[in-house]
Symmetry: C2
Subunit: 413 residues, 2 copies
Amino acid sequence: MKGNVIVGQSGGPTAAINSSLAGVYRTAKDRGAKKIYGMLHGIQGLMDERYIDLSEHITNELDAELLKRTPAAYLGSCRYKLPEIHENGEVYEKIFSILDKLEIEAFIYIGGNDSMDTIKKLSDYAIVTGHPTRFVGCPKTIDNDLALTDHTPGYGSAAKYIGTSVKEIIRDGFCLEYPHGLVSIIEVMGRNAGWLTGAAALAQGEDCTGPDLIYLPELPFDLQKFSERVKSLLSEKTSVVVAVSEGIKLDDGRYVCELGQSVDFVDAFGHKQLSGTAAYLASFIAGEIGCKTRAIEFSTLQRSASHSASRVDILEAYQVGGAAVKAADEGDSGKMVVIKRLSDDPYQSGTEVKDVHKIANDEKLVPREWVNIEGTYVTDEFVNYVKPLIQGDVSPVMVDGIPRHLYKPKTQK
Amino acid sequence: MKGNVIVGQSGGPTAAINSSLAGVYRTAKDRGAKKIYGMLHGIQGLMDERYIDLSEHITNELDAELLKRTPAAYLGSCRYKLPEIHENGEVYEKIFSILDKLEIEAFIYIGGNDSMDTIKKLSDYAIVTGHPTRFVGCPKTIDNDLALTDHTPGYGSAAKYIGTSVKEIIRDGFCLEYPHGLVSIIEVMGRNAGWLTGAAALAQGEDCTGPDLIYLPELPFDLQKFSERVKSLLSEKTSVVVAVSEGIKLDDGRYVCELGQSVDFVDAFGHKQLSGTAAYLASFIAGEIGCKTRAIEFSTLQRSASHSASRVDILEAYQVGGAAVKAADEGDSGKMVVIKRLSDDPYQSGTEVKDVHKIANDEKLVPREWVNIEGTYVTDEFVNYVKPLIQGDVSPVMVDGIPRHLYKPKTQK
């Protein structure tokens, strides 16, 4: 490379997104990039000329290792959708003038669907205007809902955390016996795609029966059938554990979390504060069956738990970052790096690049065949798909009993 | 030892309670106990003659290691308070007839306050009736609220999990910038004692500022002052993280979690379903300030996260189990093993036995001096007290990417 590289992070945090950043940095350095800039808070920050020189923050190999183990977007993230080029050319002029000023040869953006839309639009604009900067996307999302890639970095670590925590909750559930039994309802992220919720099945093994029911958002949810299944399970066991996606909906399209809506929770601005899906179902089941219930939300814990990251995930995230720089250096633009599964057992994967126009704004859902007929559990195919992605650990660098992260860039408030 | 030993677990699960069980088993075996029984679901299960022969379940050293890494009460637990001896002698006659049948020489009970009440009453009954069985308690509770012991096994691992997860949440909070800022409110267990909530301060280090505010249940909570403090913090930073105990109360004695009460959440049996403290405060702050808020409850995750247990905690739990058997073998009864801190730096501890009459039904709270004057953070003394207890890790035995636990006793449903 002869010029400079700029890299940004966008969308929701994950435990692996910084490993991709480390991969971008390392490969750009190895390929001779003069400067490697990091946008603070993605494209939105860049427009305000908020960026850092990464070499001032990753000063040695230990820093790079710490970065791989640091959760959430090191550079800060944003949720900003670029306007259509024909609607607002000024935004593009501004961005490209900053890129020119920084002499950017390669622009790498680590993110999900919306971020790939950014890559698409910027590379389109570069083509139209004959601008030499190359734009390559690097996939990232715990939701695993990106098209064309076998899976997305970030998903494996979140899945591992979910499998581990669900298993611990199942053990916890058997401790105390309640007269009418105990039902634990675990709410998992993924509003439209059930990849994360299905990962609850990873708790199953020789030493654990796994959760009793798993409900993905891809299929309509039936409250009465749910209640009957739980009742039937409680006649056989003292503790029932259910994993549900935050996005499960009734047949009529209403989100389950909307049913728990209560007047007290409308705030001063008139915003509805939705109570959680698990909270509603726990209350519903307590009312229907009279058993003890509890609601557990993994919330942000599942996307930021770098202390239990998957080694496969962190390594692949790193590779994908490097592959994005390589692709840009070799002349690719308007592309996203994807992961291709080469073999299941032993698991092997490699990277390719695909046209970002075929990826952006498309959502990959769990196939119907990977859920059982009743819609209450994922199949073995699902589990076989996920299992390789959670293998191996990344031992945190422990300092004084707590995992150490890389210092936050000082320019962040 | 010439006779048999029986051991039970009682009260809430922890990540370390099974390490105490492993310690009881090993020491009883080493000291020549013929049989080592485990009560299923504590004293309540014993009254129904539900017990197992532990040697059938811990068959080798690997089993013992797995047991130390298995969260929640391996034998199952109960929350059963024995009646006063003069009120219901029959219960005692029944228990002692079962002990006689099993030829029990030593009765070890691993638990918290209520469990120590059980040891007290059973040992009193034995004295009154001249019965030879000896009763010794083994402390256990994540709440760390037992008197006379420096700390309780289970607390260190929960504190380590809380410190680690709070740190990950803080990183997560800085990723996305919201127009009016983001306030994350984390709810931690401990209805009356703030030991666990205070552990949120462990997130603080060279690479992390720690949470911004910490509210313990020992001090009254003022909603308006809280709102003002958050508002002031939001003028300086984009993300504010607050740790609150589930048990914080207003000056008038009402729990904060009761304020969020809504009609929709009264179930069919007329039970009030309380929304959480964090959920209420998140809604309150959103209404007051108009910022983005989120509520995160650690719920059962904090007490069962054996995947991030503290080595000091797991080792001490094991030692305490062994010390309980030793004490009983040497003739002690009506005693509880306590941990004595011998030195802070380097940290060293040992065990002693104390009269259980001085422990049962007494609750150790965080001293006022260990909270700052404003009541919004714990002091360095608090942090110095906790820090040694979270040191070191217990690497989980990973099988197929997920921590392995010891098989559940088959007699449990």
